[in-house]
């Protein structure tokens, strides 16, 4: 081996070692324990696929998956619609562009947890007060306390925060479009609607794909907002998969069982991302 090759090897070994010890090794352990009845302490035995089968029979787990999907799908769609519109607006001939861009990006730099606490106050105190004062029925009760509506509050906070980053990605995408294309369309007499669907959208399609995949993945892993807003409640109405694994694993002595749940969760996330990429990329080519 040449000196140069040896140097390259030395460059990767520390990171590789750290990554293996603190990422791959725990992941393998998690997979290993998912086939046991380990509680997080004491002795354990192999139980085969029992934990996996139990996850599918566990109402609490199934509910967590249902809630997380519902939340993630709705949030992903809303975030992408709002971000794309905002980005197109910010890309237009507007005054105060720098101020506007800086303001819309602001939520990205704030802690999700703290934003959650601030919105919790808005949902539990401000909006009901406002609803009572103005006699608006919908606002007069705390939506976070309603098992059927609490998820909407979480969607609002998630969207409020995530629009910032996705808008920036779309702005980056829009900046890659050559203005001459629009001039040509103007000469052909294309309207704004036609310009959007025929030019803008196809040209930002790769960014749309990335945004959809990344947003969906992030929302499927939602944790901070939920801890701050509802703590998974009322009851377990808004318990996400991450929160369930955290609770069951650390507080419920379900180390092995939640490890199995985490493996399923991992497979689901990879499967959804791959499907999204396939579908969206196929559409891009058209």
């Amino acid at each position: 081996m040449g000196k140069r090759q040896f140097a390259f090897l030395i460059m990767v070994i520390p990171a590789f070692a750290l990554f293996f010890i603190f990422h791959t090794y725990p992941a393998l352990q998690g997979i290993f324990y998912s086939f046991t009845d380990y509680k997080g302490y004491g002795t354990w035995d192999f139980v085969g696929f029992k934990n996996y089968l139990n996850v599918f029979k566990d109402d609490r787990a199934l509910h967590a998956y249902g809630f997380t999907f519902q939340f993630a799908v709705v949030s992903t769609i809303l975030v992408n619609i709002i971000s794309l519109l905002l980005a197109i607006g910010l890309n237009g001939n507007v005054k105060f562009r720098k101020f506007l861009r800086a303001t819309y990006f602001l939520p990205y730099i704030l802690s999700v947890l703290i934003i959650g606490y601030i919105f919790k106050f808005i949902f539990t105190h401000m909006l009901p007060d406002l609803g009572n004062a103005l006699n608006i029925e919908i606002l007069s009760s705390n939506i976070l306390g309603n098992p059927d509506l609490a998820w909407i509050g979480i969607v609002i906070v998630a969207v409020w925060q995530s629009v910032a980053f996705n808008t920036l990605l779309y702005l980056a995408g829009l900046s890659t479009i050559d203005q001459e294309v629009y001039e040509a369309a103007d000469i052909d007499g294309a309207g704004n609607w036609a310009k959007f669907w025929r030019i803008t959208f196809p040209l930002v399609a790769p960014f749309f794909t990335i945004n959809m995949v990344v947003a969906m993945k992030n929302f499927l892993m939602a944790f901070d907002q939920i801890v701050a807003l509802t703590g998974g409640g009322p009851g377990q109405a808004t318990e996400s998969i991450s929160l369930l694994i955290y609770r069951g694993g650390f507080q419920g002595g379900e180390f092995a069982y939640q490890s199995a749940n985490a493996v399923i969760y991992f497979i689901v996330i990879v499967a959804i991302s791959v499907i999204q990429l396939r579908v969206l990329e196929r559409r891009e080519v058209k």
């Binding site: 390259f8 303001t103 819309y104 106050f121 808005i122 694994i245 985490a262």
Partner: protein, 273 residues
Amino acid sequence: MVGNRINWKLTILLLLGTLFILFPLYLTITVAFKTPQEMTGNLLALPESWSFDNFIQAIEMTNFFGALGNSVFVTLVTVVLVLLTHSLVAYAIARNMHKKFYKFLYFYFISAMFIPFPIIMLPLVKQTSMWGMDNIIGLSILNAVMHLAFNVFIYVGFIKTIPKELEEAAIIDGATTWQVFWKVIFPLMKPMHATVAILTALAAWNDFMLPLVILSDSSQYTLPLVQYAFQGQFSTDYNLAFASYLMAILPMLIVYIFAQKWIIGGVMRGSIK
């Protein structure tokens, strides 16, 4: 250009939209300065006096400066670790992608982007507490590990655009691989360093889940974790809570106000990649 006329309708619409962003911040600031008695009145009104009592009380109660110190420590150590090690790994990978081993390493690292944290969480927590890493130093090392996937991805993409001729010239002049990296490549990567530093710093500063499961001693808590830990006491006193929230987001807010152009530019550069 399509014409340089300012679209005022759009401008006004976008300005109105910023109210959605700014209102929660306005609320945070005003509530932080109010007294519990004022809370029964108009919630949107400005506080009657701008007294810092809530802040002083919150500082004492939550040990604010301790938490601030922890957050700054974790963020700085994470960023330094990430800049030094991830750029190095990415360089070795980017220049050897034609070799099976490095190609495997590349995909091995970036596949971690799709591994949800909970799958490693339970064993990782056991492991770190056993090895005495349940503190801010351990947290910083783990942060660097968790960011490896994304950083290698954007660093490798960037290094591929640096022409090899520059290195070859240096090698002919007798530079070793290490000298080539530190003297030629590392300085050339400056724009990507900025992007990586910004994204990593924001993530480390605002992170909640990893500190929550890793840190065992409350004297090591970071700012977000402190807000979580004091929820019990805060639930009875919103003014105190909001003073504490405001102080927790203020450092990043100040940095953002002065460096927003730079931060936005850095994040955008990472996304075009």
